[in-house]
């Protein structure tokens, strides 16, 4: 019996690590292997979700639909559910959500910046009336106090989301931060809660385990930690931790999934580096890493000074075009 819903973001968040170049062929191989595991869901797509392929955040090499179709055809029915991440402002109901429903996507995670849940109202309401599972995601969840966080969770719930996922998009949280939040939310709401960690400070697996310990029902992870910036909580290590703590888990398929990623993306596996540590401490969105690296190299600017300034200016996900402006300001250009 599985105690928790493990949610695999490898084929979505991992797309950040390879500038959104994930191929349908890899998706097929990965999904076939994932079908042998008891993972609850597999999320697929551009790193910023449905309809996000763009100059701003990076163009997908293959369309959302090529990737989703490859996944749909390779996931066993009754096996892991097919899931997508989607951000209003990038995706629209008509252009992106309806075709994804038609394609057989089973879980929609509608995401907003942590203080802006109301932007998701119409999209969540629309999906709640369809035969799909709709969850709400609060990104950059370190950028609000606990009171504010609970308010935003209740908003998303009121629109019809049946679970809410907190994303530590910047990899800023320590286990104690996760404990404080999960405890408070569980005390004040009835909501099913998910947690999504990033490894900028090297504590992603501990953060995921802390979320489980205090009652989160959905835990995100990625094979080999394949994700934006320093990567996500490593899925196979979350499961190994659970195994050591006494859960009954068949870890073998997870290790095969991990090996597929390790061998497939040898040169792009995420690591906790000096730059990602600074980005975590500055509380900046992990997905900015490639642009920050590129622009600071182009202008001859210290990458850590740029991270620090981006943190001070409180940029949110999706403001990639400001990185250059901020860098130019720092250089007095």
């Amino acid at each position: 019996m599985r105690m928790k819903n493990f949610y695999d973001v490898t084929l979505r968040d991992g797309n950040h690590a390879i500038r959104h170049s994930l191929s349908p062929d890899f998706v097929k191989r990965y999904c076939s292997t994932a079908s042998e595991s008891d993972v609850w869901a597999v999320e697929v797509g551009h790193g910023n979700g449905l309809g996000a392929s763009s100059y701003l955040v990076g163009e997908s090499k293959y369309s959302d639909y090529e990737l989703l179709e490859a996944a749909r055809n390779s996931l066993n029915l009754g096996g892991p559910k097919l899931a997508v991440h989607t951000i209003p402002g990038f995706a629209t109901v008509k252009r992106d959500l309806i075709p994804a429903i038609d394609l057989g996507v089973e879980i929609f995670r509608v995401a907003t910046h942590v203080s802006e849940a109301s932007v998701a109202k119409r999209h969540i309401e629309y999906l709640a009336n369809k035969e799909v599972i709709v969850h709400g995601v609060l990104m950059m969840s370190h950028m609000i106090d606990i009171r504010g966080l609970i308010h935003q969770i209740k908003l998303m719930e009121s629109y019809g989301a049946t679970a809410i996922i907190l994303m530590d998009s910047a990899g800023y949280f320590l286990p104690v931060d996760v404990e404080d939040r999960v405890k408070a939310i569980k005390l004040e709401t009835e909501v099913s809660l998910g947690f999504h960690a990033h490894n900028n400070l090297g504590v992603a697996v501990s953060n995921a385990e802390t979320a489980i310990k205090f009652g989160a029902e959905i835990i995100d992870g990625a094979s080999m930690g394949f994700g934006a910036g320093a990567g996500n909580a490593q899925l196979e290590n979350i499961l190994a931790t659970r195994l050591r703590l006494g859960d009954e888990i068949d870890i073998a398929p997870y290790l095969r999934m991990s090996l597929l990623v390790e061998e497939g993306f040898m040169d792009n596996l995420p690591r906790t580096t000096s730059s990602s540590t600074q980005s975590g401490l500055s509380g900046v969105f992990s997905g900015y890493a490639p642009q920050v690296k590129q622009i600071s190299a182009e202008l001859g600017l210290d990458v850590n000074i740029l991270w620090d300034e981006l943190g001070k200016r409180k940029l949110v996900a999706g403001q990639e075009s400001m990185i250059r402006e901020v860098a130019q300001d720092l250089m007095n250009l």
Partner: protein, 313 residues
């Protein structure tokens, strides 16, 4: 002295008589703006609740403060030259019926897409923004992303050959995005993309909107990126800066934040930022300021044209 001269001048020219329907942030800002502008006479502000803060604010400053919505619009329509609609796309359909049958012009600040999309600075450049000056016409202000990005899209596309794709992304202060913006985010994207494909001729367009909640609130920024077979970067820079100078005449806080540059071969990108003029709304609400400034400017241009048409007759 100056005061008297202005009053003399006012009495000599025909002021543009207008009604504003909608008393939210947009309506109130429009009202303040036109009360300060000697070319306009705000005859009526129409809301739906007699005690709404939007109406109360203008007590004693406007001839007809009304609260019966559509019914009041019918009553007042013969006394005005045109109407500014700052309500919702849904309500706009009925309002437009009333204005049309009374042969009045209407400026639509909702995302209804009924009217001719107008960006004041581009009227003379783009035939689809036709302003014939005769009869009743409906002008759509499209969206803040459209108003701030169309001049960029025009300057970049006008200096490119064989355009493949165009993308506009805006970030705005979360505080400046009310319920209507949030609820209509898909319509915002749709109407902005419609304008961009007309302005640039690009076969593929994309619009992105990001809300930023940071304190102090951020200024609106709009980035346009275009992909084409060839781009004359120097000419695009020159033309953009010329256009920005002109836009600044009606939106003083409009400026280039990142000059056109090529992020990689075949691509050109530039960013503008918009600081609001602060009539009623705070200065971070450049997104609301630019759409209202465009609305007022459109009314002026249309009036000038229609007066010329009348003289010709």
């Amino acid at each position: 002295m100056i005061h008297t001269e202005r009053e003399m001048w006012n009495s000599q020219v025909d002021r543009i008589k207008v009604a504003i329907i909608g008393t939210g942030n947009i309506g109130a800002d429009l009202c303040e703006r036109m009360l300060l502008d000697p070319e306009f006479e705000v005859v009526s502000l129409i809301g739906r609740r007699s005690n709404s803060p939007g109406l109360m604010r203008f007590k004693g400053r406007i001839k007809y403060l009304m609260s019966e919505g559509i019914e009041d619009l019918r009553k007042i329509i013969s006394e005005v030259d045109g109407v500014f609609d700052a309500t919702s796309a849904h309500a706009h359909f009925t309002h437009w019926e009333i204005a049309k049958s009374a042969e009045k012009w209407m400026i639509d600040l909702t995302p209804s897409k009924i009217g001719t999309p107008i960006v004041p600075q581009l009227i003379n450049e783009l035939p689809f923004m036709s302003m014939h000056g005769a009869g009743s016409q409906n002008f759509s202000m499209v969206s803040c992303g459209g108003q701030s990005g169309a001049p960029l899209a025009y300057a970049l596309s006008n200096n490119s050959q064989n355009i493949l794709k165009l993308e506009l992304s805006s970030s705005i202060a979360a505080l400046s995005a009310g319920t209507a913006t949030r609820d209509n985010i898909d319509q915002y994207i749709d109407s902005t993309e419609n304008l961009l494909s007309k302005v640039s001729g690009a076969p593929q367009v994309k619009t992105i909107l990001v809300l930023n909640p940071s304190e102090p609130p951020v200024m609106m920024r709009t980035t346009v990126t275009l992909e084409a077979e060839s781009i004359d970067l120097e000419e695009a820079r020159v033309q953009l800066n010329d256009i920005v100078k002109e836009v600044k005449k009606y939106v003083p806080g409009y400026e280039v934040a990142v000059q056109p540059y090529s992020p990689k071969p075949g691509l050109v990108s530039a960013t503008v930022k918009v600081r609001g003029a602060g009539y009623f709304l705070p200065s971070y609400a450049g997104n609301l300021d630019i759409i209202n400034a465009a609305a007022v400017q459109t009314a002026k241009i249309h009036t000038t044209k229609s007066r010329l048409v009348r003289k010709d007759k």
